[in-house]
């Protein structure tokens, strides 16, 4: 399942800013650290299930996560554009509570992003890090409430609050968003350039969303 190889984007023929590599490497290792609602071993199991579904690989028969989590990870990775509220209701009935689901979405989405970047840069998919033992933190209270999304959010539901019911996932999303594309603050600057011009970045964004049947 895992080994101790450090994260590396070596052997690519395109240059990646060192600050971006540092953020991605840190986030990759964090996949294996106990989260708010899942152990490190379970988080890696979720990431593996998502990668297998997205990349057409044989899913590992890990006992670390139950069938509902395995099915949700696969659907988020490979069929999120077709999801409905009924899918979440089914997962909840099968024992996947909303906050655990939010953390699962963050794990799968970031794994998919890092795998996609890895392939795009011409590197090999990274082995998952070795899980760190320990219990989830299970925060006692959250300010999140059920609003207009399928999951609870802190404040109005939107692109920057979708994972806000689990603050560690919300922060990881924001950090990776800034490293790969633009920080939330930078998004207000339509003339910004980071190697690519802003229209070039937005053309890529729009086409990617088209492939994923995502209307944002």
């Amino acid at each position: 399942m895992s080994d101790q190889q450090p994260f590396s984007w070596a052997n690519t023929n395109v240059p990646v800013p060192s600050a971006t590599v540092a953020v991605v490497a840190e986030q990759w290792q964090a996949l294996a650290v106990p989260g708010s609602w899942w152990t490190g071993e379970q988080r890696v199991g979720i990431a593996e299930a998502g990668r297998a579904a997205k990349r057409g690989l044989i899913a590992p028969q890990s006992e670390t996560i139950n069938q509902a989590a395995r099915a949700a990870a696969a659907q988020v990775a490979a069929g999120a554009g077709d999801m409905t509220q009924a899918d979440l209701d089914k997962y909840a009935t099968d024992g996947l509570d909303p906050l655990s689901y939010v953390e699962l979405v963050g794990i799968v989405a970031r794994t998919t992003a890092i795998d996609t970047a890895t392939i795009g840069l011409g590197a090999e998919l990274q082995p998952f890090p070795m899980p760190i033992p320990g219990d989830p933190t299970r925060p006692a209270a959250t300010a999140a409430k059920q609003r207009s999304a399928w999951v609870p959010t802190v404040g109005a539901a939107g692109a920057t609050t979708a994972l806000s019911a689990v603050p560690t996932e919300d922060q990881a999303q924001e950090q990776l968003h800034g490293a790969l594309y633009l920080s939330y603050h930078e998004m207000g600057d339509y003339a910004i350039a980071k190697a690519l011009s802003r229209p070039q970045m937005e053309l890529l964004a729009a086409r990617t969303s088209r492939h994923n049947d995502c209307y944002f």
Binding site: V16, A80, L180, R198, L203, L204, A205, T208
Partner: protein, 112 residues
């Protein structure tokens, strides 16, 4: 954001180029960028990467290696964001209803 950023840059972007590859986006290296997206989204690993290598090399030759690297990162970001938004059921803003027809897409129906 594509439309606003193109307007800011003085580029007469044709939004239909996002959905119809026969239409020129008018954005520099637009064709190579779109070829790279199309290849990367459908590439499962570095081992089945014939098309991704070809499109990456074409992008490097047209725009440079640093832009090709950033392109991979931006695509990766939206692979993340699309999944987060779709899997959490965040409602699509009303303004997107106006843009879907410009993109040549069917009208969006809320999935809630």
């Amino acid at each position: 954001m594509l439309r606003v950023s193109a307007q800011t840059a003085g580029i007469p972007v044709d939004l239909r180029s996002v959905t119809d590859r026969a239409i020129d986006s008018n954005i520099p290296a637009g064709a190579q960028l779109l070829d790279f997206v199309d290849a990367l989204i459908h590439t499962h690993s570095a081992n089945d990467s014939g098309t991704i290598e070809t499109t990456r090399q074409a992008l490097i030759e047209t725009a440079g290696a640093d832009r090709a690297a950033r392109a991979a990162l931006v695509i990766a970001n939206f692979e993340m964001m699309n999944r987060i938004l779709d899997a959490t059921g965040v409602p699509v803003p009303n303004r997107m209803g106006e843009i879907t027809s410009e993109l040549g897409l069917p009208a969006y129906t809320q999935r809630h």
